[in-house]
């Protein structure tokens, strides 16, 4: 028996990109917060934080692009327009693909938003 049944795995594809956003967000926030709280003990410069955020951002964006490509494929590379409301396996798949693609786009923008602070803020405090 699986811990997570198979069906959930395929419903999960819908949540891939937002989950990547969430992980990226947490890594950035927790990383910066711990750095700022423990900077005396760490002895690192703030530039470390900024470049760290840059690196995870690139990784997150690539992962979202990958997920987006899979979604695009599931959607049939845009050969079928919405609304995908037929009671068929085909349309169900197209719908999932399209919704996933939209979520990838949103997550892509959200990851860029989350990374913007690192480009502008150059110190912990005040």
């Amino acid at each position: 028996m699986r811990l997570i049944p198979k069906e959930v795995e395929s419903l999960w594809t819908l949540f891939t990109a937002p989950t990547i956003w969430a992980v990226h967000f947490l890594v950035c926030y927790v990383g910066a917060a711990v750095f700022c709280a423990k900077r005396n003990a760490l002895g690192l410069d703030f530039i470390t934080v900024r470049s760290g955020i840059g690196i995870v951002t690139v990784i997150a964006l690539l992962a979202i692009l990958g997920s987006g490509w899979l979604a695009w494929r599931q959607w049939g590379f845009g050969t079928h327009e919405p609304p995908h409301d037929e009671p068929s396996h085909h349309d169900r798949n197209r719908f999932q693909g399209f919704a996933t693609l939209l979520l990838c786009a949103l997550s892509f923008v959200a990851v860029i938003f989350t990374a913007m602070p690192a480009a502008i803020i150059t110190e912990c405090n005040p």
Partner: protein
């Protein structure tokens, strides 16, 4: 609106009231923003930048609201034939997704770039020339001025600043969470037990500004206020030097009454044996803008009322009431305190 599009013959005459109306409305709006506690009547660099940001966002927001509700009105009440699903889909893409992304990206970049500008960390990097430590206590403010190489000066419920200089505040709390806020100068910063917060502000205009506690702190949260007095730098220096010395009135007649009734258990007056630290320092209380942390006029009657029934004036206050004392005794103390200038 109908006034402006009246018939041609009366057009000129009709337009004037509209213009006047607009001017009046604008004047009302501006005067509506003025005030000693108004974030929209800025007297500091941060408040200025934020007020500008606010007006820009209000203008943009108004346009967006009109456009969206106009679209809704058109879709529900005006159009006769349904539009194609394709056109409607494009509206979602461009109006609902692309437009917000562009606008929000620009707004966010602008907003974030303000943060280091408004509260530069360079100002606190080294020990500043003037640092003011403010501790929030239920329901008043303990204020200590720290200058490099000199003894700290203790005061309460009033903060004085030199105009045109960036001042560093260290913000603490002795009991619950309070929030330090001078709306005319800039945004607020919470005072949290166990944490020392730092805030820097730069005043650009002299004057007296009312500054309320901004985080709910108990019964008399509404009655916890201080005055911010922004002065010319020379006047400020003079004032602070005076503040560091005992008041000329410290040894006056009422001191005995003050000590006889145990006031020194909580209050301090420099130059006398009164050195309590529980309540506000009273060394120069007579010269403060207000009494009772921003809620009473600084006059004899206020002292009398406050000494007699502090719990009525300020629910939850820790000071006991002295209504058992004879009126003359209270008045003697009141006059003495008013004389501490």
């Amino acid at each position: 609106m109908s006034i402006g599009v009246a018939s041609d013959a009366r057009g000129r005459r009709e337009r004037r009231p509209l213009k006047q109306l607009f001017l009046i409305a604008f004047a009302v709006l501006l005067s509506g923003c003025a005030g000693v506690q108004s974030a929209l009547d800025p007297a500091g660099t941060e408040a200025e930048a934020v007020a500008t940001l606010f007006w820009v966002m209000v203008a943009g927001g108004t346009l967006i609201w009109i456009a969206v509700m106009g679209g809704f009105y058109y879709a529900t009440r005006i159009k006769r034939e349904p539009h194609s699903e394709r056109a409607a889909g494009r509206l979602i893409l461009w109006g609902g997704a692309v437009f917000p992304v562009v606008v929000l990206t620009l707004l966010l970049a602008y907003g974030l770039s303000l943060m280091p500008k408004l509260r530069p960390w360079t100002a606190v990097a080294e020990e500043p020339a003037l640092r003011i430590e403010v501790t929030g206590e239920q329901f008043w403010w303990r204020v200590t001025y720290h200058r490099a190489g000199e003894d700290p000066v203790v005061a309460a419920n009033e903060i004085r600043l030199p105009v045109g200089e960036r001042v560093v505040f260290t913000l603490k709390s002795a009991d619950v969470v309070h929030s330090f806020w001078i709306p005319s100068l800039g945004g607020k910063m919470d005072m949290i037990p166990g944490r020392d917060n730092t805030l820097t502000l730069e005043a650009t205009r002299t004057g007296i500004y009312r500054s309320p506690c901004a985080e709910f702190c108990g019964s008399s949260h509404a009655l916890m206020v201080f005055s911010t007095v922004v002065m010319e730098p020379d006047a400020f220096d003079d004032w602070l030097a005076r503040e560091a010395r005992p008041s000329p009135g410290a040894k006056a007649d009422g001191l005995d009454a003050f000590l006889r009734n145990g006031c020194q258990a909580c209050h301090a007056i420099t130059g006398t044996e009164a050195n309590g630290v529980i309540g506000p320092d009273l060394s120069h209380v007579g010269s403060r803008d207000t009494l009772g942390a921003g809620i009473l006029q600084n006059e004899i009657d206020s002292y009398v009322a406050l000494i007699r029934r502090p719990d009525v004036i300020k629910p939850g206050i820790r000071m006991p009431g002295f209504h058992g004392l004879p009126d003359e005794e209270i008045e003697t103390i009141a006059r003495y305190l008013k004389g501490l200038e």
